[in-house]
Amino acid sequence: MTAWTGTWRLARLALRRDRIMLPVWIVGITLLTWAGVQGVASAYASEAERAAGASFAAANSATRIFDGPASGTDIGSMAMVETMGKLAIYVALMSGQAIIRHTRREEETGRAELVGASVVGRYARLTAALAVAVGASLVLGACVAAVVAANDLPWAGSLLAGATITGVGICFAGIAAVAAQIATTQRGSNAIVGAALGLAFVLRATGDALGTIADGGVRVVSAWPSWLSPIGWAQQVRAFDQDNWGVVALFGALAVVLVAVAYALTSRRDLGAGMVRERSGPASAPAALLSPFGLAWRLQRMQLLAWGCAAACWSAPLGALGDSANDMADASAQLKQLLEAIAPGASMVDLYFAYVMGLLGIVAAAYTVQALLRMRTEEATGRLEPLLSSAVGRRRWLASHAVIAAAGSVVVLLVSGVSGAIGYWAVTGDLGGAVGVIGAATVYVPAVLVVGAFVITAFALAPRWAPAIAWFALAAVLTVSQFGDTFDLPQWALNVSPFTHIPLVPARALTLGPLFWLVGAAAALVALSFAAFRRRDLAIAA
């Protein structure tokens, strides 16, 4: 028996367990690539539009931070600038999570012990996980190359784009392999990978923001921090522009080093142990924890913090971009058409904010859904049972989670509005306009509350189905607001989404009627849910 005995069997087991998860990731990222390339190709029909778009992207610091360094006026390279940064994040998540799922999670749940007691070598589990993640990255790279080439782009650049995606996937497989040796829990390992991904993004964004404009204003030469980040490398490859195949070697080199470190760590530690010692906590509870509300807040607060930060990080640059809405609309006839369809005659900046805050409203609703589904998790795992066996009434428990989710949703919307306003104000100094941005975000509070009330209703009436129903509802709301016009959906279908009824301030005047109706609908659903939850059995085992 060698240290690798059993690798092949474990890899097959991992593939079997991921038979839904990995194909969904691969197909999803491939479709996003296709949509991204399509979008760029149709947005910039003429050479003149491409030149305008590229100089805008090179000159604007917000697009440099969000998308990356402008790389000329070729359709392919412009598509890569707009999509590669996001695709790199998705592939990093796919491959990093796969590694942790098959290594640290197995140890945490004790399954690794069961398997490790059979004929399985010391390195088999890590090797099997790496094989699965690297294999998935290779398949995804091939799919990406194929869909890029399918948009009438040259094969050389398409293959390079695919190789870049694979390279990012392999790098983050390496990072996750090391993270899985360090932390003792799946959550902890995922947090390390998330932090590495965040650092990679920030380094790249800093390097690109500090870069210099070259070649007649359509190219950005990034500063050195971009070269410290795998996501930065993905863009320095500059497929279809410079085709820097040499950069791909960096992915390989980093991955080899990380994997070697992971193997060295795995042979130096016990099964189940990590590199950081478990911290001990307080021996007794603070008074603030000792109520249903206190517990719910403890369970929910990190999640709210994460969503709040994400909303701020997303909204502030979008706000800073607001001033250039006119330039953007001039650069892209498609964007102009999209915005003018919202409210004909309004100013481009107002339309832009109405559109952007509509999106951020749905982001807030996603927080609401996730926060409320925590109730179902508590019930399904059996943690609700001892609570409701104490002197805590069902209504009180439900109310504590509902209040936190509702208040949290308002906070996420306010953070979106305020940080967008600060971004806009920092660029323009226009205080009145900035206040309008806050209004554009907060007007979505009633719509988000209706989504939340719907989730609570699903939880009260059909607990086992609540997660599926809730996420489906959110997807439906997103589809209606983003593609309602594209798909030519009938009006009744549009009306089902609460977001359809929100007045699009600042592009249109604020009308209070629909807001009151929405709040009333939310209140009615919540009242129904409280009555229903009081009457149903706990659904404990999933």
């Binding site: 001990s280 509870a285 517990l295 066996s389 104490s390 002197a391």
Partner: protein, 309 residues
């Protein structure tokens, strides 16, 4: 005194499965009542109905004089519950979880809580995610017994405890049950029930098949006897109530029904008894009387009553 728990003809179905098929359970105030049955017999379902977490399809429940579905919160202040499978919040420490569970019940004795943590050798500063099953169980037990309540509902509370902690648990239950407090202890560890319980009820396929004190129940079954006599008791086989007789060179081994014990003893005295050991039926014997057929089925032989396949 009124009974602490009375259920009458309790029924509960989950889809096509019948979980409870008419449970009649009475637990007197001040007793430790064992609730025995294998997994899936309906113990946890019954206890969840007693807690008002689920509602019975038919039948009546009274617990501490109230209706657990309607008066859940008021009743829960007067009782404590230890679930069979304790799940805790991974990011809370064990100490925080104890304080939370105990104080949500409405106040607890801090000194008693610390003493219990000490006795169960629990490290309250560790995160619940790092606890083994046994340690999670201890958290729930400590939280329950730190509160001063009238009724303890314990659903297989010791399934993850080691023998040392099991004995600490038994002491804690005995102390808890003094001063007229009531305990309903669901278990499939028969030795535990035998040493703790005043009365037991045996549940099988959603019905109570036997209930009473151990002594009462022993009367319903056989005692095993091993006897050494000067003269061989050759007529034993003729006597009523004697079963499984084995003749030895110096005596005999057999089982005898409780109501014929006296007659048999009288006959043995006539044979000049040199030594006699009589073993009363253990709870396991009582239990297997109700589950013998199932056991036979599981073991693949058809000897048990109704166990033939």
């Amino acid at each position: 005194m009124d009974a602490a728990i009375v259920t009458t003809d309790l029924k509960k179905r989950y889809g096509k499965t019948t979980a409870l098929d008419g449970v009649n359970l009475t637990v007197e105030t001040g007793e430790i009542h064992g609730f025995l049955g294998p997994n899936g017999a309906g113990k946890s379902t019954t206890i969840r109905i007693l807690l008002g977490l689920i509602r019975a399809d038919a039948g009546a429940v009274t617990i501490l004089g109230g209706d657990p579905w309607r008066d859940a919160v008021a009743l829960h202040r007067r009782l404590a519950y230890v679930p069979g499978d304790v799940n805790l919040w991974p990011n809370l420490t064990g100490g925080e979880a104890i304080d939370l569970l105990a104080s949500l019940r409405g106040g607890f004795d801090k000194v008693r809580r610390d003493e219990m943590v000490e006795r169960f050798q629990l490290d309250p500063t560790r995160r619940c995610s790092a606890y083994s099953k046994g340690n999670r169980q201890k958290v729930a037990i400590v939280a329950a017994f730190a509160s001063d309540v009238e009724l303890y509902l314990l659903d297989e509370p010791t399934s993850g405890l080691d023998p040392l902690m099991e004995s600490v648990f038994q002491d804690v239950v005995r102390e808890g049950a003094s001063d007229g407090r009531t305990v309903l202890l669901s278990s499939h560890i028969l030795s535990e029930a035998e040493s703790l319980c005043d009365r037991v009820s045996i549940i099988r396929e959603g019905r109570i098949v036997e209930t009473g004190t151990l002594d009462e129940m022993r009367h319903l079954t056989r005692t095993s006897v091993h006897v050494v006599t000067a003269r061989l008791p050759v007529d034993l086989a003729e006597l009523p109530g004697v079963h499984d007789l084995e003749m030895h060179v110096d005596g005999a081994a057999f089982e005898v029904d409780a109501e014929h014990f006296d007659t048999v003893l009288g006959y043995l005295t006539g044979c000049s008894v040199l030594a006699l050991t009589s073993t009363p039926p253990t709870l396991e014997d009582l239990f297997l009387r109700h589950y013998g057929d199932e056991l036979a089925k599981l073991n693949g032989n058809g000897n048990g009553a109704g166990g033939a396949r």
